[in-house]
């Protein structure tokens, strides 16, 4: 097979292209309505594709992870022995933790009103997802979005009549304050591609790998005590005043169907 390319003449085509382009630019004035119509038509298909994708990725993941799982299994065996000895100590802490957790639960339910929404798609080129509730359901811009476990996902960035777009906290536009269990304050920055980075942690602060990060109420961007992520790798340099860390976010797009939009939080 041989493909030959000859130079074409484009005058008519160019005019058509510019008319089309002008048409698309005009469409932007009605983009909310147009997108809402497209999402309404597409949402039944998108739900099906979302569920098929979720099921097939759950099916393939163990095969793809087999090598990693073997190494992890060996490491876990060693860790298991260490953990058994620590179990006794933790039993005492468990009771205390449970009490605190219950207090946290009642607080959130008392303080916030939620709208339940289903995830139907994710933008391929940005860290944003689409949910099937919109302005008609009482959703408006900047409302925080969490899941059942109070894991923070992001906030509402675009609202259509029946749909809304959530910008995930991993998007580059996000910067907000967090704290660790031992009240060390820092800033979370969206790093793109579902990654987070912890910054502005004072050099002397006791930050360890595995530390859980939750939202603080200092800047008031999000409700306090929402789960954000876990510190994976601490970066501490002698020349820098602050330490940083790579953070593993708690939100998991692949295994999420239902989200909760907090409707009565004012930042």
């Amino acid at each position: 097979m041989m493909i030959s390319y000859k130079k074409k003449k484009y005058p008519k085509i160019l005019i058509a292209v510019f008319i089309a382009l002008l048409f698309f630019l005009i469409l932007n004035f009605f983009s909310q309505g147009i997108k809402n119509v497209f999402y309404s038509i597409s949402s039944p298909f998108q739900k099906i594709f979302w569920q098929i994708g979720q099921k097939s990725s759950n099916f393939f993941t163990p095969f793809l992870m087999i090598g990693k799982l073997k190494t992890e299994s060996a490491e876990l065996n060693i860790k298991n022995q260490q953990l058994l000895s620590e179990l006794f100590l933790l039993e005492e802490l468990k009771l205390e933790n449970q009490t605190l957790r219950e207090a946290l639960d009642t607080d959130l339910q008392k303080d916030f009103k939620f709208i339940t929404a289903e995830v139907i798609s994710k933008d391929a080129s940005k860290d944003s997802i689409l949910i099937n509730k919109g302005s008609e359901d009482g959703i408006s811009k900047d409302m925080p979005v969490i899941n059942q476990q109070k894991v923070l996902f992001g906030n509402i960035s675009d609202v259509y009549k029946n749909f809304s777009r959530i910008t995930l906290i991993s998007d580059k536009i996000f910067v907000f304050d967090v704290k660790t269990q031992n009240e060390t304050l820092g800033i979370i920055k969206g790093n793109g591609n579902l990654n987070l980075r912890l910054d502005l942690i004072i050099r002397d602060a006791d930050l360890k790998e595995g530390d859980v990060l939750i939202t603080s109420s200092l800047a008031g961007s999000f409700p306090k005590n929402l789960l954000v992520g876990k510190a994976l790798k601490i970066i501490k340099e002698d020349t820098k005043t602050f330490q940083t860390a790579i953070v593993e976010p708690f939100f998991d797009i692949k295994n999420t169907d239902i989200l909760f939009v907090i409707t009565n939080f004012k930042n």
Binding site: M1, I3, S121, G192
Partner: protein
């Protein structure tokens, strides 16, 4: 004659749905392959001299990319139209491409398409949304290129086979 663009509209519509709802679950390091971009690139690459299906697919594909993203309508469309003319300009300088090296040319065209699209999309995001797009990290960008290339090569051989069968 008019049924072909209609088929392309339905085809790219479902490809966009698959990209945004199905392929999300197969992301690698948070990277989702841009199936629409790959297919538009293939349509341009295999476009015959007297047809404009490459251009039509660039407009349709770009439109659906715009619709299913949070960005302004027209950004992806404009970038794909520019890509169409640039690729055509490059390809006509290459004259006849022997079948043996066809996939090598396609790899170059696809990498060029991705670089241009992401640069265009990135710059427009900075100007219109005042935000940096997600793919400015080198690592993530490389993953994006490799992942798209793998998917692109699979579809390249499917396209090639279809064209050979047609002949």
């Amino acid at each position: 004659m008019f049924y072909k663009p209609l088929i392309l509209i339905v085809f790219f519509y479902f490809i966009s749905l698959i990209q945004n709802s199905f392929l999300v679950h197969f992301s690698i390091f948070g990277v989702i392959p841009n199936l629409v971009l790959i297919l538009v690139c293939l349509f341009i690459f295999f476009e015959k001299t007297q047809t404009y299906y490459g251009l039509v697919s660039a407009v349709i594909g770009g439109f659906f990319l715009d619709i299913f993203s949070g960005s302004f309508i027209g950004i992806s469309t404009l970038s794909l139209i520019i890509i169409y003319f640039l690729i055509k300009e490059i390809l006509c300088h290459l004259k006849d491409i022997p079948s043996k090296y066809l996939f090598l040319y396609f790899i170059i065209v696809l990498i060029f398409t991705m670089l241009f699209y992401e640069l265009f999309f990135g710059l427009s995001s900075i100007f219109l949304n005042h935000s940096f797009p997600i793919y400015f990290g080198v690592c993530a960008f490389l993953v994006r290129i490799i992942y798209n290339l793998i998917i692109g090569l699979v579809f390249f051989y499917i396209f090639k086979r279809i064209l050979i069968v047609k002949k």
